[in-house]
Symmetry: C2
Subunit: 411 residues, 2 copies
């Protein structure tokens, strides 16, 4: 089984879609839910605020008592109690009275507004004051957060399949919930193949290549919010086959690098074929044509190139989408319009991921030869994606630019 | 010590700048460096590629041997050897000869180009072929990645103070380096104060508020690439003081929530003042006016509001910048121009962080009363920041919008 005819990128995406797996769910403590994906709808057990409360430090008053107060017409109110956060008062305010109140504390009976501390003359912290002088007026309801104005008991507060940000955690807590159901985090096994690969070293022998994919692809997997374990394998059919088979039992997904092209040492596609199904091998994609996808015992396997930049292109074009969908999240990186600074060549029938650098106004291709050019990935901040139906891009044409940063999970 | 006069936001930022701390550095394995910040310049020990190598699967040839080849003028070359990835050949190619070569393998002596597999007629995988028929020509250097064309030995490959993405990991590995110097990850202690706070529950007593800050603020801290431990404390002066003092010994930074306003139960600012210095308390900022900053035994302390949305505003306005700079990274969230969909009110002399929802074209304020409105943070995807010198925004005015997602570390 080897790369013979290239399929269009959209056909590859269709095959992936048909074989998409979605993770099972689990119940976790809300504390650990940052960036997890909710797999249920969350409804509130409470009104929020749960009672009418003060939105300011100041004095709970009857608004009409303050009408007409100004720096030239100071009014006086008797202080009959004080309420700190977490406290409440059993006293009832009558006309001419006020209760000192902290932000967040319940509005006492009788009061209908809060006069801010700074609009009173008795600006002391002591509890001994018997009255305040006020030089400003408030309207009924002013500086009061009313019960249920944020959320009503029974309200849907967070929808299914939401990535949980700090604010979602806050609203779920306020809803009275401390345990939630989320999609399990996918466990990915990354298998790096290649006899020529060695760990970083100052001294290289002839034909040796430093194994950079163990770093590059594993951190790309992490950037999709996913757990990854990495293992290396020699280009030996039986060794690759055994590693694949073992991994298919313990992992939700397998990603390999190397061994996808056609040469005597390239065994990965043959190994997958021997114990599972290869569903495609070779996509009209640049960089990254020799990319494969298969299934071993229900475990999907992406076969990426050994070349780091080809593997990165393949990952961005095909794998991210799949990893996001495993947690029921659409992969929708941010696209922005930019003016192309130079003419860009591309072939009809092939989807090109052109590494580019975009500023606020224009975008230029980060030129490089070959697919091994990591430097271009460092200089680039984005891709221009040239669709298979497009024959390149003219200078000054307005194009969609996809920013690398927006391709990550934590966005 | 309590909030008396509000200082402008820029003065608060100046004070923070003068008291900015920067983390010490440590040496770590490149494997663990994703999203860490480099604290050294990285130079390459190697040319990359380290030798002239094939960029394609195909045949190493002498380009001039292929000149004139076409589907109507097929030429024949003798295969004298084959080179897999990680191998090399000791044979020298003469005119009329070719060596089968895998992507990434070293170009054999005598050859100056690689003819892609698909331009040959003998499209087999076997090693038994004695010749190939070619129907396409190549130019000298075609499909060859030349030694050092990506990186030259001694080149600076990654600059100091770079957040390490997958591509930086790749280029550092290729440079021959497996251990790098990075800024230590800041350790933050989050102290949640408030007698009224309880953990999420279905049953609330009067005046109780669910402690959502333990979730919201702790995950915001995580979103800055920082480690956080959370503890709760009652609004008791001695308890808060002891917690602050203990934390100042073991943590790089302290963040408190609650106890920053002026009421009998608000003890945090007084506690910081008693064992350290309060450098400001009260910033002309909305939401989030009652925010403080101090230092206890060289450990900076941010004092945030108890109200989640006020605390979130304070965090975004003041704390993120400080946490980023602790790892020597500028906090530069993405700003984009949008057309304001409605008139927005703001006071002169106050910096307003207006929660907003921006689409591709326009932005509208997500309206809410009070600062306790978490729901507005869920509906919003961005801030409109109204500078202290601006008196609101007119309908259809073009404004800068800052997207939440771009305020995170992993962007």
């Amino acid at each position: 089984m080897f790369l013979s005819e290239l399929i269009p990128m959209k056909d590859a995406l269709d095959i992936l879609d048909k074989n998409q797996i979605i993770m099972e769910t689990e119940i976790i403590d809300l504390k650990n839910s940052y960036l997890r994906v909710l797999s249920e709808e969350v409804y509130s057990f409470h009104d929020s605020p749960p009672f009418d409360k003060s939105a300011m430090d100041g004095y709970a008053v009857i608004a009409s008592d303050t009408f007409g107060a100004s720096p030239n017409a100071i009014k006086k109110l008797n202080i009959i109690d004080q309420i700190g956060a977490g406290d409440f008062s059993n006293k009832i305010i009558n006309s001419g009275e006020a209760i000192r109140i902290a932000t967040g504390a319940p509005i006492p009976d009788g009061a209908d507004a809060v006069l801010m501390e700074e609009y009173t003359i008795t600006n002391s912290k002591g509890s001994s004051d018997e009255y305040i002088e006020i030089h400003s007026q408030v309207t009924p309801g002013e500086n009061v957060s009313f019960q249920g104005e944020d959320i009503k008991s029974g309200d849907l507060v967070v929808k299914d399949s939401t990535i949980i940000r700090p604010q979602e955690m806050g609203i779920i807590a306020s809803a009275g919930i401390s345990n939630i159901e989320v999609y399990k985090i996918p466990k990915v096994k990354l298998i790096i193949t290649g006899n020529e690969l060695i760990n970083p070293t100052k001294k290289l022998e002839k034909a040796q290549i430093i194994n950079s994919n163990q770093y590059v692809i594993s951190s790309m997997i992490k950037s999709c919010g996913v757990h990854v374990d990495v293992v290396s394998a020699k280009d030996i059919f039986e060794e690759v086959k055994k590693t694949l088979l073992d991994s298919s039992k313990d992992y939700d997904l397998i990603i390999t690098t190397g061994g996808t092209a056609i040469s005597k040492g390239d065994v990965v596609v043959d190994a997958v074929d021997s114990i599972g199904d290869v569903l495609f091998h070779g996509v009209a994609l640049r960089p990254g044509k020799p990319v494969g996808f298969g299934i071993i015992a229900n475990t999907p396997v992406f076969m990426l190139s050994g070349y780091p930049v080809a593997a990165m292109g393949q990952f961005d074009a095909l794998v991210r989408n799949f990893l996001f969908k495993m947690q029921n999240i659409e992969f929708n990186p941010r696209k922005e319009k930019r003016r192309a600074d130079v003419k860009i060549y591309s072939n009809l029938g092939r989807t090109d991921f052109i590494r580019s650098y975009a500023d606020d106004d224009k975008v230029k291709a980060v030129l490089s030869r070959g697919s091994g050019i990591l430097r271009s990935m460092i200089e680039a901040n984005s891709y221009i994606i040239v669709d298979e139906n497009q024959e390149g891009i003219s200078k000054d044409e307005i194009v969609d630019v996809v920013f690398f940063e927006s391709m990550n999970w934590n966005k």
